[in-house]
């Protein structure tokens, strides 16, 4: 696979160098180069927001730092949790005396590193509370929701938590809003071609041309089913058929729809897919109140698409509409 890189073992270092060069406002004083954040301080005394995760999902995670969104992000190796130390340094960078909300995804490594970092932060007098995203419906049955992974639904969690913090919410309020957002969110993905971790040099999973993997994970974790590639319309149907039994929508329910390409999917196809999703949701009586389409949460050059639905109430609607600015998402005032 042809790539635009220098040293395959140093892609994360080199990317962070580029991020900071292109967005000087994201360079923190932190001695830890694996922490990226907003140097322009938000109001003193407001809750700090942190996330972290493996690299290769850009613009997630570091692309969601900015006004109305996150304060600091711990940056891991490709598809691998950041260190406990990086999470701790992110907490320190984000803390403004009102505590830190760590909103991250449910992966073994992240769970453990956050756990250790929270312990270390407590020893240093920083209060950290966590919300663990588990929106990936295909990753575990409904009866074991605590095992489900966090995927693109994390963006909705960050957006709502970020808005609540910007609106002056306390740590408990920010945590409650973020938790509500992720509880109201479900995602599923379809993979159409694999991706390769640069240092590994070859893909560690494979999707044949003409086949697709339904319910694939963001790191190529096997999904629920491998089938022949179907039309966009049928993909939308299959994905809704996975989400909706878990998460029934009543007539008139307002939803947010987030469609993300996985990396190599042309934006054209993402919009084709969006049209099919919206049509089927509306046929089912749902009202689409917010829409986000683009390469919002990717997996290197994987080809495929993810669908994320959030059932909205007035609070979540106000939070989604709140202005924010970041590499991955800008909502204008």
């Amino acid at each position: 696979m042809n790539r635009v890189i220098n040293d395959p073992e140093k892609v994360v270092e080199d990317m962070v160098r580029g991020i900071v060069a292109a967005h000087p406002e994201m360079a923190l004083d932190s001695a830890n180069p694996r922490v990226i954040g907003v140097a322009t301080k938000k109001p003193e005394g407001s809750v700090g927001l942190v996330t972290g995760g493996g690299s290769g999902h850009e613009p997630a995670f570091l692309g969601y730092v900015g006004p109305g969104l996150l304060d600091a992000v711990a940056v891991g190796e490709i598809f691998s949790s950041p260190t406990a130390k990086s999470f701790l340094d992110a907490f320190k960078a984000a803390d403004r005396g009102a505590g830190v909300a760590c909103l991250y995804g449910n992966y073994a490594g992240d769970n453990m590193n956050v756990k250790m970092a929270v312990k270390m932060a407590a020893a240093q007098g920083i209060a950290v509370k966590t919300v663990v995203a588990n929106d990936d419906v295909a990753s575990a049955p409904k009866t074991e929701r605590e095992k489900r992974r966090g995927v693109a639904g994390e963006i909705v969690m960050w957006k709502c938590g970020g808005a609540r913090a910007a609106l002056g919410g306390s740590l408990d309020e920010v945590i409650a809003t973020a938790q509500k957002a992720i509880d109201a969110t479900r995602s599923v993905g379809i993979g159409l071609s694999a991706c390769t971790i640069p240092a590994a040099g070859k893909a560690n999973f494979h999707i044949a041309d003409g086949e697709m993997e339904v319910g694939i994970g963001h790191h190529g974790e096997h999904g629920v089913q491998v089938t022949k590639t179907v039309s966009s319309r049928d993909m939308a149907k299959m994905m809704l058929d996975i989400i909706l039994p878990d998460f029934p929508l009543a007539k008139g329910d307002e939803v947010s729809v987030l469609v993300s390409g996985l990396g190599a999917t042309p934006l054209m196809e993402q919009y084709i897919f969006y049209a099919d999703v919206a049509e089927q949701l509306e046929a089912a009586g749902a009202v689409v109140a917010f829409r986000f389409v683009g390469n919002l949460f990717t997996s290197l050059e994987m080809n495929g698409i993810t669908l994320t639905l959030t059932r909205l109430d007035d609070e979540l609607k106000a939070c989604l509409a709140h202005p924010c600015s970041s590499i991955g998402l800008k909502v204008l005032a």
């Binding site: 073992e9 493996g54 891991g76 190796e77 490709i78 598809f79 691998s80 949790s81 950041p82 260190t83 406990a84 130390k85 990086s86 992966y107 073994a108 490594g109 453990m112 590193n113 756990k115 250790m116 990753s139 575990a140 095992k147 992974r149 971790i197 240092a199 590994a200 560690n204 999973f205 994970g217 790191h219 190529g220 974790e221 096997h222």
Partner: protein
Amino acid sequence: MTTAVSLPLSDGRFIVDALVATIRANRDYLSEIDAATGDGDHGINMAKGFALCAERMDAEDVRGASDAFEALTMALMDDIGGSMGPLYGSFFLEFQLAFTGRDTLDAALFGQALAAGVASVKELGGAKVGDKTLMDTLVPAEVAYRETLAGGGDFIEALAAMSTAAEQGKDSTKDMQARIGRAARLGERSIGTVDAGATSCFLILKSMADSITRRLAP
């Protein structure tokens, strides 16, 4: 030459040197196993951590066992992240703590470090035997070590028993269905290959057993 029952910790860095060499040599193998049920990076992660440990040890001209395990712990915890950073980091932290302020490594001290390490990994990771993780290697290995000593075995015999049990534990993961970690998602499809973490854990325990045994009975 007779067999020793203990060795000085002041030049105990060799244990960690051997670990570094073992993990580096098995980098691609570990990634390959991980590719079958996980994301194929286990060897990369491990090799990166252990290579950084070697750099730290060289930079600080480390000689003793405690400093060597501290370098390993820090490299894993501060530099590599993932699951392996905290899990193996907590494991080796217990060796560092056990060896600090001590001059001599004997069967009892190794057993104490090993037991503390297993407990720490168990607490952090929450995995149980049968979940298809490194716990399937670690738990029986620690039991075998402890029981061999309790049954009158010496340090070398206990290390050998630990190695053997670790290998059996590792092999036992082949027929298991993963219940934790990335592989859990595979369901029944996870059956049929050994677990990557269980394999690296076996290599680690065997390396420690071998390198210590070679010093005790050269």
